[in-house]
C-alpha cells in the first residue's frame, strides 16, 4: 500500500527531505509508521506526546490505521515569537 509522507517545518529540516512516497503493509498504524521513520531518519525524534500526524488534513491518533493513498503530514509545534 502506497502512502505519501510530508515532513513539515522543523521535521523537514531534521529529516533533510520534504516529501517521500512509502510502501507500507496493509494494517500499518501511525505508531508503526513512526517507528519506520525514526529508523530511517536518525535525526528524527517523533515523541508520541509531541508529534502531530495529520492524515488527509485531519489530526490523527497513533492507533489510526493507514489506507492506500493517504497523505500523512508530520510536524511538531512550538510556541513563541
Amino acid at each position: 500500500m502506497r502512502i505519501t509522507i510530508q515532513f513539515s517545518s522543523l521535521f523537514r529540516i531534521l529529516a533533510g527531505v520534504e516529501r517521500e512516497v512509502l510502501d507500507v503493509a496493509e494494517g500499518t498504524t501511525i505508531d508503526r509508521l513512526s517507528s519506520i521513520l525514526v529508523q530511517k531518519y536518525q535525526n528524527l525524534s517523533l515523541e508520541s506526546g509531541k508529534t502531530y500526524f495529520m492524515i488527509n488534513g485531519q489530526i490523527s491518533t497513533r492507533k489510526q490505521v493507514l489506507a492506500e493513498g493517504d497523505q500523512v503530514r508530520i510536524f511538531q509545534l512550538l510556541a513563541g515569537g
Binding site: 513539515s8 535525526n43 525524534s45 506526546g49 489530526i59 512550538l78 510556541a79 513563541g80 515569537g81
Partner: protein
C-alpha cells in the same frame, strides 16, 4: 544583595526630578523582579482610577535578578504600566541588550511618572541620571532616534528603549522598541510613553552586578551550553538557533495553531502549506539573511538580520520577522507575499507598533471591508481585500504614520476602531480590547483560560496549560476535568521564569528547571517547591489585584467566540472543536481561590502567600 543592584530609580517628569529608592531583600524575595516588582510598586504608588494616558500613570522598565549577571538566556526586560487599552494592568517584555545595560548602569528598575510639557528622554549613565530635551528627536523613527542619541551622547554602546511616531501620536497599539527591532509590544505601552512626552530611556553601564557564586554560575552556564550542543534536544536547538521562531510557521498554519483568515479559515484550504513554507526561515534566509542576531548572553541566538535591497519594498537592513509577526501579517490576513511581510514588519519596528495587534487590526479592517462595514471611501481608496499585499502595506503604513483618517482609525487598534465607528464588533478577536496572539485555543485549549483570565489578557507568553496543550496531539487535552491544579502550577512556574529575566525560549535548550539552576549561584537563594509556588502566585495575585482595584470583574474578560469554536468549524483539523473554556476557567478559579463573580481572592489564600497585606487591606478582603 546578589543578583540585584538594590536600587530603583524613580523619575518624575512633571517635576523634572528623580530619586533613588532601595529595593529591599524582602521585596526581592517576595516579588523576584520584572513585572513582579513592577506590580508591587505600581499597586503601592499609583492611584486607582488614574488616566492611563495621564501623568498619574507610571511606566516602569524592570529587570530580573538573572539579567546582567552573565547567566545565560536572561537578557529580557519588562515594561509595566496601566494599559490604555484595557484600563488595567499591563506588562510587555523584550530581549536585546537594554535590560542587562540598565543593570550595569546601576538600577534594577526605572519608574517614570508625571508628564513633561515638551519631549524629553532619560539618560542614565553609570548611575548618573539626567532628563534631557528630546524636541529634536520627536517625529524621528526608531533607527533615526537611536543614531541621533549615539551621536549627541558620543556613546556608541548605549542602549535605548524608545518610541517611534506611533507612540508619540498615542496609537493604542504602539510598542516600545530597543536595539532596532526588539519590541515590548503589547497593551499600548508605547502610547503611555508618548503621553508623558517620554521619547526614550537611554542607558549605558559599566558596572558589575554582584553574584553569589561566580564559579558555580560559570559551571551551570557550561552545563547549559553542553546540553544545547549534545543533549537530547540538540538537533532542535541547532535548528532553532539557525532559523528562530520562523522554523514552524508552515506547521502552525496547517495544523490550526495559527489562526487563518481572522480565525474563520482553514490553513490547508485557505492558505496552503507552500505559502506557509515560504514564510519560514529556510526560504526567507536563503534570500535575505546577512547575519545572525543574538540577545545578550544567549547561546541560542534565534534572531537574524536581513538585507532587503530589491523587490517592491526594499527596506535595507531589518530584523527577521518572528513567528507571531509572520502569522499576523501572513495567514491571519491571507497574505502570501514575503516582501509585504518584511515591509510591514519593518514599518512596525521603525514606527513602533506591536506587530500582533497591527496585523490583527489590518485583518479586522479587511473583514470589515469584505463585508461592507468599511467602504472604499472609509479606507481612502484602498482595496482592502484578503491577501491584497499592496493594500496591506498601504494600510499598515497609514496606521503607523497616521497620515490619513483611515490610518488614524487603525491606530486605535481593532477594538478602538470598532468603538469609534460603532460597527465591526462581530469581526473583533480581542479580550478586553487586546488582539489575541497567534496560537489558537481550539488546538491548545489551555490558551483559552490564559488569554481570558491572566491579569494581562490575550498573551501567549503567560503561564498555564496552553503551550503544553498546543504541543500535544492527545485529544484528552480538551477535557477540562482536573485542570485547575496543573494549570495553577504551570502558571506560578511561568511567573518565576518571566520575572527572573529568563527568555521563554529556554525550553529549546533541553535543560530542565533552568530557573533554579541559575538562581542559586546568582542570588544565593534556593527556593523549595512551596516557596517558588508562593512567589509565583503572589506575583500573579498582585497583578490581578491591580485590575480588581480598577473595578474590573471576571465578566469583563470575555473570549471571542471564534477563538473557542462557538460555533465549531465544519472542516479542517479543528473540525467540531468547541473549547470548554468555562470549565478551564472555573477550575482555575477554584484552584487559586478567587470568587467567580467578583474575582476577589480569598483572604486566607493571600495570608498563606504572605507579603500581601496591602492587597488584603485595599480590596477589603
Amino acid at each position: 544583595m546578589n543578583g540585584y543592584c538594590g536600587k530603583m530609580l524613580f523619575v518624575d517628569l512633571t517635576k523634572g526630578s528623580h530619586e533613588v529608592l532601595a529595593l529591599t531583600e524582602e521585596t526581592a524575595k517576595q516579588y523576584i523582579g520584572g513585572y513582579g516588582i513592577g506590580a508591587k510598586v505600581l499597586f503601592e504608588k499609583m492611584k486607582p482610577g488614574s488616566d492611563a494616558l495621564g501623568p498619574d500613570n507610571i511606566v516602569g522598565f524592570t529587570t530580573g535578578p538573572l539579567t546582567g549577571t552573565g547567566a545565560l538566556l536572561s537578557g529580557r526586560y519588562t515594561i509595566v504600566c496601566k494599559s490604555p487599552v484595557t484600563g488595567g494592568w499591563n506588562d510587555a517584555n523584550s530581549g536585546g541588550y537594554f535590560g542587562p545595560e540598565l543593570k550595569k548602569a546601576g538600577f534594577d528598575a526605572v519608574f517614570v511618572q508625571g508628564a513633561s510639557e515638551t519631549p524629553v528622554y532619560v539618560w542614565i549613565n553609570d548611575g548618573e541620571v539626567e532628563i534631557k530635551d528630546a524636541a529634536h528627536l520627536w517625529g524621528k523613527d526608531i533607527l533615526e532616534t537611536e543614531a541621533a542619541l549615539k551621536g549627541e551622547l558620543e556613546e556608541n554602546r548605549l542602549r535605548a528603549a524608545m518610541i517611534g511616531p506611533a507612540g508619540e501620536k498615542l496609537s493604542l497599539i504602539a510598542a516600545v522598541i530597543n536595539d532596532g527591532h526588539r519590541a515590548a509590544g503589547r497593551g499600548g505601552c508605547g502610547a503611555v510613553m508618548g503621553s508623558k512626552k517620554l521619547k526614550a530611556v537611554v542607558v549605558r553601564g559599566t558596572g558589575n552586578v554582584p553574584v553569589a557564586d561566580p564559579e558555580k554560575l560559570k559551571a551551570v552556564n557550561q552545563d547549559i551550553l553542553d546540553t544545547i550542543k549534545t543533549g537530547p534536544a540538540a538537533e532542535i536547538a541547532g535548528a532553532f538557533s539557525t532559523f528562530g521562531t520562523t522554523i514552524f510557521t508552515a506547521a502552525s498554519a496547517i495544523s490550526g495553531d495559527s489562526p487563518v483568515k481572522n480565525w474563520e479559515g482553514i490553513g490547508l484550504v485557505d492558505y496552503g502549506e507552500e505559502t506557509g513554507k515560504n514564510f519560514e526561515g529556510p526560504v526567507m534566509d536563503a534570500k535575505y539573511r546577512v547575519k545572525k542576531y543574538a540577545c545578550a548572553n544567549c547561546p541560542l541566538g534565534c534572531g537574524a538580520i536581513y538585507d532587503v535591497n530589491d523587490g517592491k519594498w526594499p527596506v535595507g537592513e531589518t530584523g527577521r520577522p518572528e513567528y507571531e509577526t509572520s502569522a499576523a501579517f501572513g495567514c491571519l490576513m491571507l497574505n502570501d507575499n514575503i516582501e509585504a511581510l518584511l515591509k510591514c514588519n519593518h514599518i512596525c519596528n521603525i514606527y513602533g507598533l506591536d506587530t500582533i495587534s497591527a496585523g490583527a487590526t489590518v485583518t479586522w479592517a479587511i473583514e470589515c471591508y469584505e463585508n461592507g462595514i468599511l467602504s472604499k471611501g472609509d479606507t481612502g481608496g484602498i482595496e482592502l481585500t484578503w491577501g491584497n499585499a499592496e493594500a496591506i502595506v498601504q494600510a499598515t503604513q497609514e496606521m503607523a504614520d497616521q497620515s490619513t483618517e483611515f490610518g488614524k482609525l487603525l491606530a486605535l487598534g481593532s477594538a478602538g476602531a470598532t468603538e469609534k465607528i460603532g460597527k465591526g464588533t462581530e469581526y473583533l478577536v480581542t479580550v478586553k480590547g487586546i488582539e489575541l496572539p497567534m496560537h489558537d485555543p481550539r488546538l491548545g485549549p489551555g490558551f483559552a483560560r490564559t488569554y481570558a483570565i491572566d491579569p494581562t489578557p490575550a498573551r501567549h507568553v503567560k503561564g498555564g496549560l496552553g503551550i503544553q496543550h498546543m504541543q500535544t496531539p492527545d485529544p484528552s487535552k480538551y477535557n477540562a476535568e482536573g485542570s485547575g491544579e496543573p494549570d495553577l502550577r504551570a502558571t506560578a512556574a511561568q511567573e518565576i521564569i518571566n520575572t527572573t529575566g529568563l527568555c521563554l525560549f529556554k525550553d529549546f535548550t533541553g535543560v530542565q528547571n533552568i530557573a533554579w539552576k541559575l538562581m542559586p549561584p546568582v542570588t544565593g537563594w534556593d527556593f523549595g517547591e512551596e516557596e517558588e509556588m508562593n512567589a509565583g502566585l503572589r506575583i500573579y495575585n498582585m497583578r490581578h489585584a491591580f485590575n480588581l482595584r480598577e473595578g474590573m470583574k471576571p465578566a469583563d474578560f470575555q473570549l471571542p467566540k471564534r477563538s473557542v469554536g462557538e460555533p465549531p468549524q465544519t472542516e479542517g483539523p479543528l473540525q467540531g472543536v468547541t473549547v470548554d473554556h468555562k470549565g478551564f476557567i472555573r477550575n482555575f478559579f477554584k484552584a487559586i481561590e478567587w470568587d467567580e463573580t467578583t474575582g476577589k481572592p480569598s483572604r486566607s489564600s493571600l495570608e498563606k502567600l504572605g507579603g500581601m497585606e496591602d492587597v488584603i487591606k485595599s480590596l477589603d478582603l
